[in-house]
Symmetry: C2
Subunit: 394 residues, 2 copies
């Protein structure tokens, strides 16, 4: 819904497209700790209950470089290089969460009417940013293997979009993970059109079966790319730290945009993150513990879903990430269902904010399994399914 402001205040045209995050709206209504929330995408705080952050060195008190702290840039660049990306510290920028990477990329490429291609469904906060910058957004249906290369090729030919936004690894919300073959095909299509790839990859480390295939950007031969990463899902979200690495020719304008946005990111957080990530053995141990913990939750959720949703929804077991994505056979009023479940102490995310408003979309729900305690999952899903079943029979 567009923001209502008194008519005499003259706002920029983009503000008519300004939406709040539905997830954050629901979250702000669920501050009550007794609620069982499948709605957000929050990590499980029990993972860091015994964590003490290293003390901040006084060197971190002064203003710092817009690029970010060199030790952290080196660590994150070397991690990207391990994935096969031609990355180094000089083309790695520390951001205030990977959300800021979306803001910077939008500023770099999007003005009113710029064609942009993304997945349907897609990450809702990315959609929010791209709409704010008044892009002419085209969404292609996503299946479990990824976007269809031929469909992407045809849409690029038709729209001449300068930018494609993809979240190919354990996507939020759908959990989809592009196959290796599909990644190579998509890279070839982007190369053929010389279309910049904005690849968002926050969930890569949270894999429950095999490691995910390398980023799509790794297979590009000539077209430029921006690769977004985050420490929020596997380290400490409260730090609000992310990073981007990119083709060399895009680094300088992105750095200047970062300067204009907030000068630089919080420095104590960068020292803390560098110190925590600089210990590969500890880091690996932490990631394995986190995978183990979330895998248990995923499996428990899968059992509970089979019990309560087996006859009313379809879904695929996610091989990584933090979400189940349920498709219901027919359209219904999920906003009304949400009101009803909230009254019974259960929150979930309706699927529509992950699609463009103008599209005729399937009726979906996103259910987060990282936050809800194991022992509450059954109860929460039982309440949710009974509300949906009652709605169905009305």
């Amino acid at each position: 819904m567009p923001t209502q402001t008194p008519s005499e205040i003259r706002l920029a045209g983009r503000i008519k497209n300004l939406t709040g995050s539905v997830a954050r709206d629901i979250l702000s209504r669920t501050q009550n700790k007794d609620i069982i929330s499948f709605a957000g995408g929050l990590p499980d705080a029990s993972l860091w209950q015994n964590l003490q952050l290293p003390a901040t060195p006084p060197a971190a008190y002064q203003y710092g470089p817009s690029e970010g702290e060199l030790p952290l840039r080196q660590i994150l660049a070397s991690r990207a290089a391990t994935l096969g990306l031609p990355a180094n510290a000089q083309t790695t920028l520390i951001t205030s969460g990977s959300q800021q990477g979306l803001d910077l990329a939008a500023k770099l490429f999007l003005e009113a009417g710029t064609p942009l291609i993304l997945e349907a469904p897609t990450y809702l906060a990315a959609l929010q940013v791209f709409q704010l910058f008044e892009a002419n957004i085209h969404a292609l249906p996503l299946n479990a293997e990824g976007l269809e290369p031929d469909a992407l090729d045809a849409l690029l030919t038709r729209t001449q979009a300068p930018l494609v936004y993809l979240n190919p690894t354990f996507q939020n919300p759908s959990g989809a993970c592009y196959s290796l073959k599909r990644r190579k095909q998509i890279a070839a299509v982007l190369d053929a059109h010389n279309t910049v790839l904005l690849e968002d990859d926050p969930y890569r480390d949270i894999s429950y079966e095999d490691d995910a295939p390398p980023p799509i950007a790794r297979f590009l031969q000539k077209t430029p790319w921006i690769y977004l990463s985050s420490v929020s899902k596997t380290l400490i979200p409260g730090l609000r730290l992310g990073s981007l690495c990119c083709s060399p020719q895009l680094f300088e304008p992105l750095l200047k945009l970062k300067q204009a946005a907030d000068l630089h990111s919080n420095r104590p957080a960068q020292f803390v993150a560098a110190q925590m990530l600089d210990n590969p053995a500890e880091n690996q141990k932490r990631i394995l513990a986190l995978r183990h913990h979330y895998r248990q939750k995923r499996d428990h959720m899968q059992s509970a879903l089979q019990q309560h949703f087996g006859d009313i929804a379809q879904w695929t077991l996610p091989r990584g990430g933090m979400f189940f994505w349920l498709t219901l056979p027919q359209s219904r009023d999920l906003a009304a269902a949400l009101e009803s479940t909230l009254q019974q102490g259960v929150a979930f995310m309706p699927g529509s904010p992950f699609f463009l408003p103008k599209q005729n979309n399937p009726c979906c729900l996103r259910l987060n399994f990282s936050l809800v305690p194991l022992e509450k999952m059954q109860q929460g899903l039982r309440i949710l399914s009974s509300v949906l079943k009652r709605q169905q029979s009305n």
Copy 2:
């Protein structure tokens, strides 16, 4: 200079206006600690050499509210209320430095061609943001008392600008501080035109004589306003924390813009700042010590300037803030002078980035006195003045 990128990458139109910060460029060339830098606006690190930050509570590790932490919002709102602003926690937003307040305000009001009025000279990083958002910028000459109300009135009538950006208290770069009378006059003009005021106030606490008069926003009767504040100048810049408070009708869109920009600011920093600012006695002691420290530096700088610049420049003793603003009688190549002083280990800021490029501006220098150690000031200013004098005689 516009960013050069290969022509086949299709960037947004605004990128042609993207400039880096000259100050940051100079700073990145002066990482060498032996340089005497009057160029930036950095606080003196000796002020926090014995400071230990409070430990971060684990509650700060999780994702947080986009508005910011309530205790910090309450403290900052109550501080704004003390200055006479109709502020409360519900209309106070924590930002990633007050630079982000500029980005959010620009997104809210500016699109290509939107008329905007500001001071000449003005804060260069604000100019950078407003140019990026392709505003049609009109600059009014600033004198020691502030902008001329009649000139502002006439320019508002002519341009119908929806937004005026002012830095009325110990302005960066000029040090100007609007008188109480002038503040009331400017407020009346803004009210008459129903033009939103964006008031930037990071230096208020750093006063060397009397306290500064209240913010201009405090005297507005009906037009909306946004008031930016920062903890960077008086607490710890590395935290990258600022805040804005605003008229109630502007809060909701600014909050959504904040969400889209970076979800929320670093949480440990917000806990630290709240804890440090929540002790009024300690806080007052810290501010008084800081004023005393910087006053000494200012006075020492004034003596050295009288000795070395008395015959080649004009300036006013700043009653607050961190800068001397020198005007030279005739135009000259300050970029060449900077190259020359850098070779001799001295950095300063040429004045031109604080003006619109198209204007015919006086020849000015900004000299920061907060960072340079007392014992280096004489030497630095001697070198700088001898370069300028040599240039004059060539």
